[in-house]
Symmetry: D3
Subunit: 319 residues, 6 copies
């Protein structure tokens, strides 16, 4: 990585008239055809700061063949303004090896140490006493492919924890929050709550693609992370042979219902105390993280953030 060249141009700062000569991720690629029948290539280039459009008028078919969505490419060209947006008129574009770049230039990452977070999460999991739940989590931890993806995946494309390691960061925060709240109310099955918190979003390891850029995968668009997560849990449970059926249903119900209502994507609403609680705690963790990220994207000095379009309000952040 020492040899990795530093990136100097970033997607959200390129201005009209500027020469472009740097590396970007290809995040969209459509081959189109002009009225005179000649092909051209419309593109989008991304890095950790955002996305910038591009167009290649010459050699379009050849370029379309040689670069793929997700590739890191070296682009030269000139930026100009077209309609509502900046667009790079591409002169040349060629894929570069991944080991010649600094990955964190292209996709944002958690600021926290993923190994430490993983270790911390496993410790929380170790406090679970119910044998079959403990065994199920152990089965996930022993699955190296899973652990690698789980430590890398973001928790979302936008909105909250939308960065490499975000899924683990969100999961750990939620598990610790559940741990704080579990004993406030009597009658809560603490082990079920903690296990649900740890497993609720594991489908996101396959719902999203997060090699170089974050986007939905084909499986994500067609199945949703909830259904993918159920398949992952069911597969591990089937391999265990001895997981009792009622707790299996109750655990899967935690995953199925964790969005809280059908409108929000859960085929069934929460019907147990543990799933009702998990839904609220998950919403707290997502919203507080999202709002804090939004506040942090504003420099100190102003008391109010700009308007948050999705949440439809200004936030007061103090000075």
């Amino acid at each position: 990585m020492d040899a990795a060249e530093m990136k100097k141009q970033f997607a959200n700062q390129i201005r009209s008239g500027e020469s472009v000569d740097d590396r970007f991720v290809v995040s969209e690629k459509f081959l189109a055809r002009k009225k005179d029948g000649n092909p051209f290539l419309t593109l989008a280039f991304s890095d950790k700061t955002g996305v910038v459009k591009g167009v290649a008028w010459d050699d379009a078919e050849n370029l379309a063949r040689t670069v793929a969505i997700g590739d890191i490419v070296h682009v030269t060209g000139v930026a100009n303004q077209y309609r509502e947006t900046i667009q790079i008129i591409v002169k040349s574009m060629a894929a570069v090896p991944r080991d010649t770049v600094e990955p964190s230039d292209f996709i944002a990452s958690t600021r926290r140490n993923t190994d430490q977070m993983m270790e911390r999460l496993m410790k929380v999991a170790d406090t679970i006493k119910t044998p079959h739940l403990k065994a199920l989590l152990a089965a996930f931890w022993e699955d190296d492919d899973f652990v690698r993806q789980f430590k890398t995946a973001p928790a979302a494309k936008k909105m909250h924890h939308a960065y490499i390691g975000g899924l683990l960061e969100h999961t750990l925060s939620l598990a610790l929050l559940a741990d704080r709240v579990a004993e406030h109310y009597g009658g809560i099955d603490r082990d079920m709550l903690i296990a649900g918190a740890i497993l609720h979003d594991i489908g996101k390891t396959r719902e999203l693609e997060y090699e170089n850029r974050i986007d939905y995968s084909m499986a994500g668009r067609l199945m949703s992370h909830i259904v993918i997560g159920i398949e992952m849990i069911e597969k591990k449970i089937a391999a265990m042979n001895h997981f009792p059926p009622v707790p299996a249903l109750l655990l899967k119900h935690m995953v199925i219902s964790h969005h809280g209502s059908r409108e929000l994507g859960s085929p069934e609403p929460p019907k147990t105390l543990e799933s009702v609680l998990l839904n609220y705690l998950d919403e707290i963790d997502a919203k507080i993280n999202g709002i804090r990220e939004f506040m942090a994207s504003h420099e100190p000095g102003a008391e109010w953030t700009s308007y948050h379009k999705l949440l439809e309000r200004f936030f007061y952040k103090g000075t």
Copy 2:
């Protein structure tokens, strides 16, 4: 069955003051406690015409132990009116063997021949040419447990095809309707559409309980028939070893999206032409069946039905 005694009293016709002496299914059972500490038993009794409440003041704990929800019991007692409803004051209640009753007295059944419907559906399935889809359906047909449940299950607790054999009747009707429409539009993958039509509701075989009465099962309430159906398909696909991954996703997407929107219980909306079409055809078949059943429940002579509470309108049925 010859020996089966004919049922004479039906749930929706019992009137205040009437003596009760007949068989019913126990569909609800709660042990409660009076102010003076003595237990009593609240019950619900059902048959093919509906449900009637019941209460046992004496010997409550013993009765609670000896009958289970779903049992067919012989009840004696007197009906009276309590608040908004008729209620049987139970004098005696005892389970009777299932072979001493006529099952169709207790739960409504399709008026059509299920063997013939099954045969017809298999013929439609046979017109599918894509090898892996054909093989998947064959795997279901060869699964005797599945076929038995699939021929018996209702399609719903209320609203449409809510009777024994209703799932098969609805599935066959939908598959034939899909067959009529498939070639109207170019670019439709007919085999995918037909396979999706046949498999879209198979999760209902486990979402509902339909032994003696129709109700949601524990798995149904906690998981929904959509997620159950995905588990059933995934299990068959996993056993096939060679099912190609993209068609597997597309087929599962048909099941996942067949309610059309998150509000209606689909975690993802339809994103392929075939799934868009399946969603509409399913809605047509459910609505037309439901409205026709509703019209048929009114005697000839009146042009209009009574008010349909769920669909919020009167229907014109002509004379």
Copy 3:
């Protein structure tokens, strides 16, 4: 209280044909007129178990004058069924002194010790370090009228903590929950969060009437507990003379926004981290309490509750 006669008939257990001879709270009273011009009196009688309708055909105008809504009266008469409901045909009805009855027969109360809860809440308040917030809470604690009402008021007419002492029970639970969560996230003003949790619902001391029965007061119907609460806080703040203006706005915002959205009655949605968090924690405490009360109203033995009409689902409570 020793002399208080035990109540034997309860509103939710009176059956058609039964003689009535016991005390109830008058919770509704309308003087109406028959076609022949003679007046009659429609009534509702309540106790801790619910409400039963009543009608007095004779001496209606006199009775209307001598009893008031909220009075405890001794009623004699006969219960019969009228349309969808049980109704007492009143023969006699006369107010009885409050000290001849056991108040807890007429209105449900918290099962917990209110003095201990109050003491515990004051201890939580004592952990607040910000001087003006600490002083404001002290001002409330020194207001004997307020403390008396605060220890007695229910938190709602229905749904959750709908019993004498329910407001205090809910407030204490919320303050303790806030205490558990406050330090999970950095950047939260713990003192503001705790103060907001303690004061968020104080308007309910005047929104509801809870002498003998729970109902909305005139001020509650016309102003809502949120606006009443703001008036109460503003009055205390004005008397303090030195409460800094920005924290005053931020604290009042906690109260104004604690329902989370306009649809749910908050004129402004939460715009600070603390108010976002308070809104979720309040919802958790209300929902978990409500669902647990609902589960507890079912006898052990059944795994599922009956259908919860407002939350539109069955709940799994286990055995």
Copy 4:
């Protein structure tokens, strides 16, 4: 009318056990079949106070033939309670001539003088100066069938002005209100506003049936009063030959858009100042009339009404 016998039993006051021997309107009639194959007749009887159910066990087919929905019949029988409702067990039932009854016993009427109201409305219409609008209204006034229906029709089945003459009463009130408001704002075409106010609901003369009882007509259910009204106006305009096309569109738009939005039944929302204003004034007149009727149905003495289910609140009416 002198000979008309006074009605003594009214639908909303019949109690269980009472003998029935009086005249009612037949408002529903369904021939059904018992399990043993014998027919019975379910009925509903109405008068100005409401509706009561009925059933005839004997001679059902004959009775079904000899009475029609809308007939006034003399009924004898006994009232009892069946499930949630009072029901007359019919012994005999025979149609009586309309001139032997007092019509106002069967269907409520405006308390105001319809001739005077009609005269007053025509005077308002006379203040319109635009020739084609004046001529169009004249064409309606000269249509005797229309005037007769317009003076008799109710404005609704429920909710507001739901009585004979209610349409005229509502129309007059709205026209006078429009007159008061028309000149408050500059740029309003007063003549268009007044003409729209007068004609906005004329389709209700055919949307509803109001001979003996108020119910939707077949045309009303299938077409809505908005579309019926457009047909009525278009027919008159076509007969005039010289009505200019743009004002014709603008006037019809007043009728089409007067419910304010698609959700409320207007195919297009108001797009002119006059139609925006008409929509609000119509809503004021309907709501104020409806709430005042609701308040008036409560005896003096209580400050608050009972709960208004549709408007979802209690109203404060003062003492």
Copy 5:
């Protein structure tokens, strides 16, 4: 048409800095006034590829007089970027005769043969056996003005079949689809269904303007195609003299209710089996056509479309 000059510049491809010298349709025209009091003219120019803004600083009042919305004009000038959009600074602009241009350059057309489609539709209409429905359709076919408009009109401004001939294409597809489905269910009045399918959207011939460009007409905006269609049918029915009243209501109901609900613009929801079915089939035909057009606007190679803003999802189109 031989002499028609080929258009070379298209609205969606004009870039900043480019000289403009070609023909466009004037689709918007507003005369505005600068701070110094001088007038200027803001314009929009359209062709089959879309719309581009324009502004004329000089000679504005004269230009405003000499060109009308809907004219085809020859424009010269320079394109530049203004705020979020490309804008032509107009140097000269003059109307050109319609026969010197190729109409299909300015407004998109169906790719199918309208005469053949019309013939096919008439054949479907011929299969109707009910005399009055057959006669009504014949009355439309004999109305040359109607047929000419019906063969030309688009089915919408956007979304589906939004091109010349689109109404006929949609109507034919729907009628053939109805034909396939009509006999799948018993109890459907096939003739009513087919007649409804053919007539459901005829109001669009007047709801839209489609001379040179597609936009709503004044009648369309003020009345909606549903009400216009009813007027057209009612006029033909009135001229027939013998059309029976009940079928007339039922047929008009097909048109009135074909959007399915008030929210979507139907004053009454479908209340007959035929209208329920028509509503779904209409929605299938519109959606499938719209999605296929959207898929087809993407070049082969990519599996997924771009994001569909109105339907709020990506579509999988395969490769």
Copy 6:
């Protein structure tokens, strides 16, 4: 004011490439940091015609210190296009004294005379006869700070009466409209209606900032004008000592409920005849004013306005 320099450049007319040299209000100011660590300043400049963005690359920290949001500054620089918007590259920027500018250049004002409007409103208030209501209004008129703010405040940031003096203009119009309507219906407390109309929006004097530009104040965002208004009224009532409690509740209810429903920001819906009426009249005055302003922003000549995004329709304004 004579010496005030005329403003020549206006925010909504600055074009790319233009030199900027004029006065504007600073309406946004955020200090940001480039990748290389150097600070820059993003700005927004407003005047009565709208808002234009700005950026200062040099001397950013110094500029950030010396100008405040709300200052009028003299700006020099060059305008260019950046992404979707025009942006001034600031060369210099310095605050100018308020008395060297013409205030009406920076913020739009009512076209009517505020002194005359105030006088007129006080006359309407004088027609109130109920002593405590009359006295309460007098208390407001005697509060010079209040009157000054009340005569200056706008009624909104956007949509309707969004200009200096707009609150008074709207309040006067509403009071006069209420006066016209009050006597149309019997049973309306005219004094309560008029008093409510006058006071309903007084919280807007503090909800908005309107020195040089219109924006929400901190109190406005955190409390809403409804709650602020209640605090203002309660303070005056408390100072009067003798205001009777029930009318105080009813008056405050007019303010609390005047948006008509929770969704629209009223914590309680209208529950008195007067508050129901006030809500509709307020909506009429806001909508009619808003639509007329929108129509007036279009030059004569075109019959239709452009599309109104919030009201989702085109309006017909005639020629």
